[in-house]
């Protein structure tokens, strides 16, 4: 018994020095963990920019990765309601259960928009806590990053100083980049746009753009021909300058409306990996702004 105890004690510090295994639900959080953790973290990203984070299944591969994680970083606010609870239940990993330091929900660290006043599925697949697509505002990434760096330091004290240094360096670059994006984005203020799903609410709020319609008649409900027709008619009186969709949305509806109304349909990367330019968080916003600015003459 004593030997086992000693063995455990000897083994513990070794374990603490090992790299953090991070399970990131979405690519933006995976990228943020990489910025903070550098080479000393191993990141598994559960979804790609081409997948709708609402509609993932609790696949065996995800259970296996969840099993090995020291830290789970997800958006929360019910974005992953269909699959994350099931993964947590099936994987048998105590470290990452809600309430433990290994469980990190990004939406807890920012103020959410579009919190529904009433909860009724007649309004579609509404999220009770508010809109979970927070990362489309880069200032939210900074807010989440600060909390994430603190959490990673807590979980891996040996790497804490490195995480803080890397976070400070990223944060400085990021704030400079935000200032640059905001300066460039001045012409986008009050730009009226149509969006496919309410994936860009935070982006629009950040840049002062105006959402005049959504292609989905209700959140999570597929655009119907009748609804698209109504939007086309609405755009006759209140014109929009572009139709925005995320890389994972089917282009059909956006393209149809764009053609009908003579405005461009933009496939924004939405998250890291959404197109060739959006290779990291900086590229994500560079490309998003470039595309938006092209739509403004």
């Amino acid at each position: 018994m004593k030997h086992i105890l000693i063995a455990c004690l000897l083994w513990l510090p070794l374990a603490a020095h090992a790299a953090l295994n991070v399970f990131a639900c979405e690519p933006e959080w995976g990228a943020l963990v990489r910025e903070i953790g550098g080479a000393s973290v191993k990141v598994y990203t559960a979804t790609t920019a081409l997948q709708d984070p609402h509609r993932i299944e609790a696949r065996p591969s995800l259970i296996a990765q969840m099993r090995r994680a020291d830290l789970v970083v997800c958006s929360g606010a019910d974005l992953e309601a269909g699959w994350l609870p099931l993964l947590l239940r099936e994987a048998g990993n105590a470290r990452v259960q809600p309430g433990r330091p290994g469980y990190f929900e990004a939406t807890r660290f920012v103020t959410l928009l579009e919190k529904p006043a009433t909860l009724d599925r007649a309004q579609g697949d509404v999220h009770a806590a508010g809109n979970p697509h927070i990362h489309t505002d880069p200032r939210n990434i900074a807010r989440v990053g600060a909390a994430l760096a603190a959490r990673m330091s807590e979980l891996d004290p040996a790497g804490a100083s490195a995480y803080q240094v890397q976070w400070q360096a990223f944060s400085a670059r990021w704030n400079a980049a935000i200032a640059g994006w905001q300066a460039r984005a001045a012409p986008l203020k009050n730009l009226p746009v149509v969006v496919h799903h309410k994936s860009f609410s935070y982006l629009l709020a950040w840049l002062g753009m105006v959402e005049v319609a959504t292609l989905e008649p209700r959140p999570g409900i597929e655009p119907s021909a009748a609804h698209l027709g109504r939007i086309a008619a609405q755009l006759q009186t209140t014109p929009a300058r572009a139709v925005l969709r995320a890389a994972y949305h089917s282009p059909r509806s956006a393209d149809w409306l764009a053609q009908r109304s003579g405005i461009p349909a933009l496939a924004l990367p939405y998250t890291v990996g959404g197109n060739a330019r959006a290779g990291d968080l900086f590229g994500l916003f560079d490309d998003t702004l470039d595309q938006l600015l092209k739509a403004v003459p």
Binding site: L50, P98, D125, G220
Partner: protein, 452 residues
């Protein structure tokens, strides 16, 4: 407004002797109070709204003002209420008039709820689930029928053991096979596969404990063991202290690129029965009651493979599932004396042995958002059955039950589904039935889990 009225009522009660002029003065005062309150409430509402939405049109201010983490305090769910969902299911079935539906060559498995013709309500299911405390999760599933309420599942599961280990206890659907743990609303067809109908009636549930371990590898590997009461078919309740059934299962799974994922498994169920009822037609075409006592062993192999372009199942996706079983039963069978009704059995008890098998294979294709179509093929093999001395009274079946099913379903949202299904059913030796089903499945309340 309400507050003002209350105040007026209270004042009126308190000062009943006030003269009319005083009352008028009071009314005026109240009116003033009311308007003042309304204005203050409106101002407060505006402030709340302002506080809730971040500065909208302030793009060129200093970037993130304070990048300090806020307290991790907002609860994920308001209150302590469990997630509740209710499944509404019903259907219209166009079937032949068949009194005693059974699968030829197989002893009837218990727990079948009949197949009514015309309009009928399927299971209505009530599901409650929540964390119990930091150590356990709880789950409850109640199936409601007209004259029956059935606790389909009621279990706790550990969440804090770690090392990939979970322990489940209570009543639960066994982890064997693939379809077994799915409730009927999650099936891809309007009715059960012939394999599961022959094996368990609906699915194999148990009162007992389950121990499961997930390996710490990138390839998904899990193994599980269950021990329980074993009261469900193919066992029965035998009033004993020990475990009445044991199950072992193992699963492997993973992804192949971004577009493909799979899971394969092998399971084994061992249980015993003591005077387990069955009904069978004897050589005189009369109903004979049989009582089986002995061991029942079932092997199930399952494979699921799914495809979605880039892993985005939204527009198009495909799912293939197949399961194969082999069951051996060994013991004794009594055929109760039914000579009084013109039957052939004389109450003989003698050795009984059977080895039977079967499978189903199905493919479901979502060809555009909301629309899926699917085909399922069922086939069973009555295999070898040895009735011993009772073979003088009980006929053997060499009919191989078979069924083709074709379905089309439409899901207006994630929470509703309408389904049309056609089956060509030859599960009974004498029948070749065309079956039509129109089914709806609606789920109210909490967001359902996306099982693989």
């Amino acid at each position: 407004m309400f507050r003002a009225t209350l105040l007026a009522a209270a004042l009126a009660a308190a000062f009943p002797t006030y003269a009319q002029s005083d009352l008028d003065a009071l009314r005026a005062e109240l009116k003033a109070l009311q308007t003042a309150y309304e204005a203050r409430i409106a101002a407060l509402e505006a402030r709340i709204q302002q506080a809730e939405s971040p500065p909208l049109a302030a793009p060129v201010t200093a970037p993130v003002a304070a990048a300090t983490p806020q307290a991790d305090s907002r609860p994920a769910r308001a209150g302590f209420n469990p997630d509740i969902s209710l499944i509404l299911q019903g259907r219209y079935a166009r079937l032949d008039a068949i009194d005693e539906r059974h699968i030829s060559g197989f002893l009837p498995a218990g727990h079948a709820h009949g197949t009514p013709r015309g309009f009928s309500l399927d299971h209505t299911e009530l599901v409650l689930t929540a964390s119990i405390d930091p150590y356990f999760n709880g789950y409850f599933n109640l199936a409601l029928f007209d004259d029956e309420v059935e606790i389909e599942e009621a279990w706790f599961q550990t969440s804090s053991l770690g090392q990939g280990v979970t322990v489940k206890g209570g009543r639960f659907l066994s982890g064997l096979g693939y379809q077994n743990a799915q409730h009927p609303h999650a099936w891809d067809f309007a009715d059960n596969s012939l394999m599961y109908r022959a094996l368990f009636g609906e699915s194999y549930g148990n009162d007992g404990v389950q121990l499961k371990w997930v390996a710490p590898t990138a390839l998904f590997m899990e193994i599980g063991a269950e021990a329980g009461r074993g009261a469900d078919f193919p066992g029965n309740d035998r009033n004993r202290n020990g475990a009445g059934s044991a199950t072992l299962f193992g699963h492997l799974g993973g992804d192949v690129g971004a577009s493909h994922s799979w899971r394969a498994g092998l399971s084994y169920l061992h249980t015993k029965a003591n005077d387990r009822d069955g009904e069978i037609e004897d050589f005189n075409d009369e109903h004979a009651e049989t009582l089986f006592s002995g061991k029942s062993r079932t092997w199930v192999a399952d494979l699921v493979w799914k495809w979605a372009p880039d892993g985005n199942a939204h527009a198009r996706n495909f799912k293939f599932a197949a399961e194969y079983f082999r069951r051996t039963e060994r013991g004794s069978l009594e055929c109760e004396d039914n000579r009084a009704d013109g039957g052939a059995c004389d109450g003989t008890t003698d050795a009984y042995r059977s080895r039977q098998s079967g499978y189903y294979a199905q493919g479901i294709y979502q060809f555009m958002p909301r629309w899926r179509t699917g085909y399922r093929y069922d086939r069973l093999d009555p295999g070898t059955v040895n009735f011993g001395a009772n073979s003088a009274f009980l006929p053997l079946s060499d009919h191989k039950p078979e069924r083709h099913s074709l379905m089309l379903d439409y899901s207006p949202s994630e929470f509703s589904r309408l389904r049309l299904q056609y089956s060509k059913d030859q599960s009974m030796a004498s029948q070749n039935e065309d079956q039509w089903f129109v089914q709806y499945i609606h789920s109210l309340g909490a967001h359902g889990a996306h099982r693989f």
